[in-house]
Symmetry: C2
Subunit: 287 residues, 2 copies
């Protein structure tokens, strides 16, 4: 086992949303709570043992926007982040303070400290914010386009490019290529930094047997003109990563992945618990 | 008993504070929760049966400003207010929405929709915000001056002057003259509106037998050069109100109150419960 200090996570902020005046960073929080062992394992987001008294109170008001659930303990994170940002701290600084408070050990870097908003154009409503698509609409709507507002003007967080350049191995996690990985790459300098590390970069396919294990990655890939398969993933990641790890269920597509320009490593990629996650991490490091 | 629709409360906003990005209106909330029968009777603020999970979570962070307790259910009010203000609603509109959600019946008017901040100069720290004085310092510090930042530029809320002009009776509640009543009067037009109703205006002394029943009114009066007695109160309120209601404990000072320029009505003014509050209201209406 590697010590947590060996790990740096560069994290998407395109999902961030201001709700009721509070700065909510869902991806950063999910990673923080997961690595702290505090996440609710059933929901996959928020804190275990959470209470919902503030949300219940909010439903008293007919005009309240209560489609985004904020647990009472989770609210502490958003209150703290908002207060610190208001006092002039950067998102990088605040995220490090929160990670330290949860005793993570590893480094958790927002890809940028500047505003970058994932915007989704849906068939029946036009362009809406990512959380409006993902949470309010339950990602159950046809997506016509995805845009990253503010990306061109954003600069990478102060340690991001160095972390990519200095990493022993760069890993593209089995996350949604369109709305979780792409908003990292669109920050000027980040895509080039990963491309420069292509030989040492390993991606893990979020698509297993044609489907996403969770969330709308498969549907989004299809709706935006890609193939929802490990080959579709390989075509997206070939410029960035030398190697693609695919699940054993996709062993039959290994040749097609290689034809798309990536070395293909086959192994168990479905993480049902810590042991399987650790085994996948070892596989990726050895790839 | 009068129906609640007969009552309009013009409320101080100088205590308002932005905490963790949330707009907190302590006076409005205390009146709302009190009239809704939802206030915690022991503390005198916040909601009965409250939980504190967000606050407990906040204490995980060493840099968190956690001196102002926000209960989980109470947070719903601040989340809602902040969201609505951010969407362009006025404090008057939001306060009415919150009052309606709590089924108050009566009208609750912030004295102004514009920023007005009660600032307190304390002996050892200089000028600080009201809540920093009242909550963080537990009002246990020598006060040298009180100032109402923004008052000159503020305008009364849209219904405030009309409510005062049209009232059958104007009542100055037994509240702190320096930091709760004065920040109403400093909004341009409000003092004149009350003075114009002087014959129909009744004040209730917050000082009983030389002391405040709650809070720092007695100490503040002394430190800022006034007398902490019903006579001191009468000297402050004589230009505004024809009548001062004093507690039976101060019956001996009735003549001195009259000498200060106010008619003096003696009665029980200490409200330990609803019955006593209703009796005092009847006394004030009959005065």
């Amino acid at each position: 086992m590697r010590p947590p200090e060996d790990l740096t996570a560069v994290v998407n902020v395109g999902d961030d949303v201001v709700l009721h005046g509070l700065h909510v960073s869902p991806d950063i929080d999910t990673i923080t709570y997961t690595l702290a062992g505090a996440i609710d394992p059933e929901r996959g987001w928020g804190l275990a043992g959470e209470t919902w008294h503030a949300m219940e109170g909010l439903r008293r008001f007919p005009l309240a926007r209560s489609w985004f659930d904020l647990g009472d303990r989770d609210l502490a994170t958003h209150l703290y982040r908002t207060d610190r940002l208001g006092a002039g701290a950067s998102l990088t600084e605040v995220s490090a303070e929160i990670a330290t408070a949860w005793e993570l050990g590893c480094r958790l870097l927002p890809v940028t400290d500047e505003p970058l908003q994932t915007m989704v154009t849906v068939a029946d409503e036009g362009e809406i914010g990512f959380q409006e698509y993902f949470v309010r609409r339950h990602h159950d709507v046809v997506v016509e386009a995805v845009r990253f507002a503010g990306a061109e003007a954003a600069t990478p967080g102060p340690e991001v490019l160095g972390a990519i350049a200095d990493a022993e191995r760069v890993v593209i996690a089995p996350s949604n290529p369109i709305v979780s990985i792409e908003p990292l790459l669109v920050v000027p300098g980040v895509r080039a930094a990963v491309e420069a590390r292509r030989p040492d970069t390993v991606a893990v396919s979020p698509i297993v047997a044609g489907a996403a294990l969770r969330g709308p990655a498969d549907r989004l890939l299809r709706e935006l003109g890609h193939e929802s398969s490990v080959v579709g993933v390989a075509r997206l990641y070939a410029p960035l990563a030398a190697t693609l790890v695919v699940d054993e269920a996709d062993a039959g597509q290994a040749a097609a992945v290689e034809a798309a320009g990536m070395r293909c490593v086959v192994g168990p990629t479905i993480m049902r618990g810590l042991a399987e996650a650790a085994a996948l991490a070892e596989l990726v490091l050895a790839a």
